[in-house]
C-alpha cells in the first residue's frame, strides 16, 4: 500500500526488506540482526529516550528490545502490524516498566521533549507528525501522557486537574481523529 520512500534520504528500507530480515532472524541469522539493528535502533532509542530521558537507561532498553526481537522474530505476524509497531510495543513496555521502577521520576525534565524541528524520517513519520499537528494541544497532551508517561486516565485527570470524563472524551476523540487521518497501518 505504501510506496518505497525516495523523496527523503532515509536509512529506512522498504517494509518488505524488514520482513525478509525478520524471517532471517527467526532462522538464527546474526548478520540479519545487525542489519535490522541498523535499520531500527534509531527509532527504538528515540522512543526509549522520550520515555526515560536518560541516555544510559534508554540504551539498556534498546539492547533488551533487540535481544527480545532476536528471540521472538518467529512470532512476528505482519498481518497484525508493521515491524516498527512491533518494536515500539516492546520498547514502550520495557521503558515504562523501567520508569515505574525508578524511585524518583525526573519530573523536571518533563517538558523537554526531543526537538520537533528534526527532519522527518520518511513519509510515514511525516504523516504521523501531520496527524498529531491536527489534534488540539489538549488532545495531544493527553495522548502523550498516556503513551509516553504510561499514566492511566485517572492519573492524567489528576495531573491536568481536569474531570475524568473530560480526559476520557479527549483521548477517544484524539484516537478517532488519528484513525481517520492515518487509516489502518500497513
Amino acid at each position: 500500500m505504501r510506496l518505497a520512500v525516495t523523496a527523503h534520504p532515509s536509512p529506512r528500507m522498504p517494509e518488505r526488506t524488514a520482513e525478509v530480515l525478520l524471517r532471517q532472524l527467526a532462522g538464527g541469522d546474526a548478520d540479519a540482526l545487525a542489519k535490522f539493528y541498523d535499520l531500527y535502533s534509531g527509532l527504538v532509542n528515540g522512543l526509549a529516550l522520550r520515555i526515560l530521558r536518560d541516555v544510559a537507561d534508554a540504551e539498556d532498553v534498546v539492547q533488551e528490545v533487540f535481544v527480545q526481537a532476536w528471540r521472538q522474530a518467529s512470532r512476528f505476524d505482519p498481518s497484525r502490524g508493521s515491524p516498527e509497531a512491533w518494536l515500539c510495543t516492546m520498547a514502550r513496555t520495557r521503558a515504562l516498566d523501567r520508569l515505574r521502577r525508578r524511585t524518583s521520576r525526573r519530573e523536571d525534565a518533563e517538558e523537554e521533549g526531543p526537538s520537533l524541528s528534526t527532519l522527518p524520517r520518511n513519509d510515514e513519520a511525516l504523516a504521523v507528525r501531520k496527524a498529531l499537528d491536527g489534534l488540539s494541544l489538549d488532545q495531544r497532551r493527553a495522548l502523550e501522557l498516556a503513551y509516553y508517561e504510561g499514566l492511566t486516565q485517572t492519573e492524567i485527570a489528576e495531573r491536568l486537574a481536569e474531570p475524568l470524563g473530560t480526559i476520557k472524551t479527549r483521548i477517544r476523540t484524539a484516537m478517532i481523529r488519528l484513525r481517520e487521518v492515518l487509516g489502518p497501518s500497513a
Partner: protein, 370 residues
C-alpha cells in the same frame, strides 16, 4: 463495525493502556469474549504504536551496537529446545495467590482503604493466574500442532521455528509472571504504607480527642464555678428576700397595730441632759402586742445593747434588747407580756448586749403610759 455498547468507547483508552480501576477489570474480561472489541483494540494499539514514528530518530552509541551483537552471539543461534515436561506454574504463583489473604491477616485491620488495596492485589493475582493458564493452553496447543507436524517434516526449519517460539513463549510467560509478581509486591507495599498512614491519622485523631477532652474539662470547670457563684447569688437574693419579707411583715404588723382602735401610744424622751433621743411605743393591752420606734439614739458601744423594760405597779420586766441602725433609728417589736396590760412606764437602759434580768446600766429613754 465498531461495537455499539459502552465497551466500544473504552477501546481507544484501553489501546493506550490508560484504563484503570473497575473499568479496566470489566473491559479486560469483556475483550476475552468479544472478537469485535478485540479486533478494534488491536487496530487502535497498532495506531498508538505509530506515534513514536513522529519522534526524531536518535541513533544510540556505536558501543551499544557491539554490546547487542555480543549479547546475540552469547544467546547462540539455531533451534532452541522445547521444554519436555508440562509447563508448571511456578510455586511462587501459588503462594502469590494466597498472599492477599495472608496479608489481610498480617494487616489485621478492618480499614476500608487497606481492604481495597488487598482486593486490588487479589485481582492482580487473579490476572496473573489467568494469564498463566492461557499461556499454558497456548503452549499445549502449540505442542499438539508440533506433534502433528513432526511426522511430515521432521527437523524442518518450520518445526525449529515452532520449537524456538514455544520455548520463547514459556520464557516470556515467566518474565510476565515475574513482572506481575513485582507489581503485586509493590501494591502490597503501598497497602502497608496506606495502613501506616491510617494509623498515623488515627493516633492524630486520638490526640485531638484528648486535647478537646481537656478543653471540655476546663470549660466544665469554668461552668461549675459560674454555677456555684450564681448559686451563691441566688442564696444571697433569697436571704435578702426573706429579710425584706420579714421587715414587710413587721411593718405590716406595726401598721395594723397603729391602726387598731384599741391601741395606745406612749411617748418616750431622752433621759440624759441634751439627749435628742425620742421614742414611741404603740401597744394593744388586749392582745399585748407592742412595738417600739426609736430615733436619735447613738450606736451602742461594742458588747452593749439597749434593753427595754415594762414597768408596772408591782414589777419591772425585761422586754428585749435592740440595736439602732447607722442613723440611730430602730423599729423593735416587744415580746407579748402579761405586764403590758398593766404597764405604767416604758424605759430603755444601756446593758450588756445579751441583756439582763433587771436594769443595771444608765437609763436612756423613759415615758409613761397615758
Amino acid at each position: 463495525m465498531r461495537s455499539e455498547d459502552r465497551f466500544g468507547t473504552l477501546v481507544p483508552v484501553a489501546a493506550l493502556d490508560a484504563l484503570d480501576g473497575a473499568e479496566q477489570t470489566t473491559f479486560e474480561a469483556h475483550v476475552q469474549s468479544c472478537p469485535e472489541c478485540r479486533r478494534d483494540l488491536e487496530t487502535d494499539r497498532a495506531l498508538a504504536h505509530r506515534l513514536p514514528l513522529a519522534l526524531p530518530e536518535c541513533r544510540p552509541s556505536a558501543a551499544l551496537r557491539q554490546r547487542v551483537l555480543d549479547a546475540i552471539a552469547a544467546e547462540g543461534a539455531g533451534p532452541r529446545p522445547v521444554p519436555l515436561g508440562p509447563v508448571r506454574r511456578p510455586t511462587w504463583l501459588t503462594s502469590l495467590v494466597a498472599l492477599p489473604a495472608a496479608a489481610s491477616v498480617v494487616l489485621g485491620v478492618a480499614l476500608i482503604s487497606a481492604r481495597h488495596e488487598r482486593d486490588e492485589a487479589r485481582r492482580t493475582a487473579d490476572a496473573v493466574r489467568s494469564t498463566s493458564e492461557s499461556l499454558e493452553a497456548q503452549v499445549q496447543r502449540a505442542r499438539e500442532q508440533l506433534a502433528q507436524a513432526r511426522p511430515q517434516q521432521t527437523e524442518s526449519d518450520a518445526t525449529r521455528a515452532d520449537a524456538a517460539s514455544l520455548e520463547q513463549a514459556s520464557r516470556e510467560a515467566q518474565n510476565r509472571l515475574a513482572t506481575l509478581e513485582q507489581r503485586l509486591a509493590e501494591e502490597l507495599g503501598r497497602a502497608r504504607q496506606t495502613l501506616a498512614a491510617r494509623e498515623q491519622e488515627a493516633s492524630e485523631a486520638r490526640e485531638a480527642m484528648a486535647r478537646s477532652e481537656q478543653r471540655f474539662k476546663a470549660e466544665a470547670d469554668t461552668a461549675r464555678q459560674v454555677a456555684s457563684s450564681l448559686e451563691a447569688q441566688v442564696r444571697a437574693v433569697q436571704a435578702d428576700l426573706a429579710d425584706t419579707r420579714q421587715r414587710l411583715e413587721r411593718e405590716k404588723a406595726f401598721r395594723e397595730l397603729v391602726a387598731h382602735p384599741d391601741s395606745r401610744v406612749a411617748q418616750l424622751t431622752g433621759v440624759a441632759a441634751g439627749s435628742r433621743a425620742r421614742a414611741r411605743v404603740v401597744w394593744n393591752p388586749a392582745s399585748r402586742e407592742a412595738v417600739l420606734m426609736v430615733s436619735g439614739l447613738p450606736k451602742a458601744p461594742d458588747g452593749k445593747g439597749y434593753e427595754v423594760w415594762v414597768v408596772s405597779k408591782e414589777t419591772t420586766v425585761p422586754a428585749g434588747v435592740f440595736q439602732v441602725d447607722a442613723e440611730g433609728s430602730a423599729l423593735f417589736r416587744l415580746p407579748t407580756l402579761d405586764e403590758t396590760e398593766r404597764v405604767k412606764t416604758f424605759a430603755v437602759t444601756l446593758e450588756p448586749a445579751a441583756g439582763r434580768a433587771a436594769p443595771s446600766g444608765p437609763m436612756v429613754l423613759a415615758g409613761a403610759a397615758p
